[in-house]
């Protein structure tokens, strides 16, 4: 199971990096969100995948699941959600103002 998840993390990371290298802004943003997803999956995998009861409820189970990674992932998801939406707005605004979403054309010093 760990191996499978590790492969999934690797694939997501590779796809994310590939898309960030694209010229279209929208692809870059999608790439970034894939990248964050892969990291969340990594967080889940690194803490060990084991079956068990919810932590501390009742206190009678033989083994418990570690709750911390899930809390971390939840926090990180919220943050990346906020940042991605801000980035989308920025990309839209840039497209409106500069008339292009091609990162190659954005680079030039237009007003000089």
């Amino acid at each position: 199971m760990e191996l499978l998840l590790a492969l999934a993390v690797g694939t997501l990371f590779a796809v994310g990096v590939y898309m960030i290298l694209a010229r279209s802004l929208l692809r870059v943003i999608l790439g970034l969100s894939l990248l964050t997803h892969s990291v969340h999956l990594l967080l889940l995998t690194m803490s060990g995948l084991k079956a068990g009861a919810p932590p501390l409820l009742g206190g009678q189970a033989e083994s418990y699941v570690d709750p911390l990674p899930q809390a971390l992932i939840l926090t990180s998801i919220v943050i990346s959600f906020g940042v991605t939406s801000l980035y989308l707005v920025l990309a839209y605004k840039t497209y409106k103002k500069l008339g292009t979403d091609d990162t190659e054309q954005l680079r030039g010093e237009a007003d000089e």
Partner: protein
């Protein structure tokens, strides 16, 4: 347990939320901001005094003891940096009153400012690695907003790159945290330090340490600074001054914490990498500063050089160099903020930021000229001023450890700082202006009254910089007290875990 530890985070946060309700009234917003900023500064001062007399102060959130809960930990270096950053940011706040323009002020400039302060102070004070990530994000998201506020073409273009780089490095940060949690099973910094030391810093932990080095170097602009000069040139000078004074320092502080507390075990690998990166940063920053022909870009490359200089102290990591590092960081906050505030005034006065079109400003603004000269000499490290003592200690530390090449590079870079800033001074203030463009190219409002206000703010900050230089004895003592927890992690660990 000490509740004051969390106040430098809590006060800006509450102020920011309160400010959201007064969008329409600029006057009220300014007043609330100033009250919030000064009460935050007062809390920092109390915290500094308490850590000075009573050692490391801790606060376990919600009463959950370490290592299970989230800890806030203020040792002397954290308290010192929090105090310095709050005071320096206060000057940037005062400066922004007359310079950012009514449009930005009505569109939540002040709330973002306070959120940024909450993130910065939280990053300095937190004792939990994941909480550090969260505070970083609070700081970065506010910095995105401050950078973009106004929405000029240049800001949008700079914002795209700045956000992309920072989101990438935050992603790597989470990955590094995941690996570290997988290996050690904890995220409390004191607990991590203990466990890493017990396990011995072997292969996998060294790899994780290098990952953290990449992450924090991106944030601090250490070697991976390619994003910095372009994006810091876009926002108005009040915002750039704030970024220059605080953001890279937070990255540097994270580096210091990581490599003195968590991963001090393998200096052959990590610290020699930091040394190489510091040297390259100084050289490349110097090359950039020499080749730029734009006021803001020259000053931006000076940030890069000073980051390299500070990292040189971390690479050597003996008592003198760490003391110099703390001293240098504290005084550099004030000096960099001053440089950028004065740079903003110069650009406003000349109506352009192209160096070849400026000149002869001394005739109209002699006070500005003198203040800039003081700031420039202080940044270069000329004796009576505050830059000198920090650089002296850093160089002493470098020579003690036999890092001769790095010390030579550092001294050469100081010379180049002096050259670029004095060249800037001569071009801007001496000679005659060839043509004076009437349209103000800078994206800030200007009126005679606001200009005078900004000048007074810069003047008081300039006085503070001089004071730091004259009173460097006190700051040197403070930084030697701050070094104690850096040299001996057990002080920090005991304070957190043995309570």
């Amino acid at each position: 347990m000490n509740n004051i530890v969390v106040l430098p985070l809590l006060i800006p946060l509450c102020t920011a939320v309160l400010l959201l309700f007064f969008r329409s009234s600029i006057k009220l917003q300014r007043m609330v901001s100033v009250i919030g900023q000064s009460s935050s500064a007062a809390a920092c001062a109390v915290l500094l005094w308490q850590t000075g007399t009573g050692g490391v102060q801790t606060l376990a959130m919600g009463g959950w003891k370490a290592p299970y809960g989230i800890m806030f930990t203020a040792d002397f270096i954290a308290a010192l940096l929090v105090t310095a950053s709050t005071i320096v940011a206060g000057f940037c706040l005062l400066y922004s009153f007359g310079s950012v323009g009514a449009e930005r002020e009505t569109f939540y400039f002040y709330p973002f400012f306070q959120f940024l302060m909450a993130g910065v102070n939280g990053s300095f004070l937190t004792g939990d690695l994941f909480n550090l990530f969260v505070c970083f994000e609070v700081m970065l998201i506010s910095s995105y907003s401050l950078l973009l506020l106004g929405g000029t073409r240049e800001q949008l273009r700079a914002g795209l790159g700045y956000m992309l780089i920072n989101i990438m490095s935050s992603t790597l940060f989470v990955a590094a945290v995941a690996y570290l949690y997988g290996v050690t099973g904890t995220l409390n910094m004191a607990h991590l330090s203990e466990r890493i030391a017990a396990a011995g810093q072997d292969g996998i932990l060294s790899v994780i340490a290098m990952l953290f080095l990449i992450v924090f170097s991106l944030k601090a602009g250490l070697f991976l600074f390619f994003w910095l000069p372009g994006s810091y040139a876009a926002p108005p000078p009040a915002v750039t001054a704030l970024f220059a004074a605080l953001l890279t320092k937070v990255g540097l502080y994270a580096l210091i914490r990581t490599f003195t507390l968590l991963f001090p075990g393998d200096p052959e690998l990590t610290h020699s990498w930091i040394g190489w990166m510091a040297g390259a940063t100084m050289l490349l920053g110097a090359a950039g500063a020499l080749s730029s022909k734009d006021v803001m870009r020259i000053l931006n490359f000076n940030i890069v050089i000073s980051v390299g200089f500070a990292a040189f102290g971390l690479a050597v990591a003996n008592e003198a160099s760490l003391q110099g590092l703390v001293f240098y960081m504290v005084q550099d906050m004030a000096a960099k903020a001053l440089l950028f505030l004065l740079g903003g005034l110069m650009i406003r006065e000349a109506g352009t930021q192209r160096l070849d079109r400026m000149g002869g400003l001394y005739a109209s603004r002699p006070g500005l000229a003198w203040m800039f000269l003081i700031a420039a000499l202080s940044a270069a490290g000329i004796p009576p001023l505050s830059g000198f003592a920090g650089k002296l200690l850093l160089v002493q530390g470098g020579l003690q450890s036999g890092a001769y090449v790095l010390t030579a590079v550092a001294l050469a870079s100081s010379l180049i700082v002096l050259y670029t800033l004095v060249r800037l001074f001569m071009k801007v203030f001496w000679g005659t202006a060839s043509e004076r463009p009437t349209a103000c190219s800078l994206n800030e409002s200007s009126s005679p009254g606001s200009s005078r206000w900004a000048g007074i703010t810069a003047g008081v900050l300039c006085f503070l910089v001089v004071l730091l230089g004259v009173g460097s004895e006190w700051l040197a003592q403070a930084s030697s007290a701050a070094v104690l927890t850096l040299l001996d992690p057990t002080v920090y660990i005991d304070a957190v875990l043995k309570e």
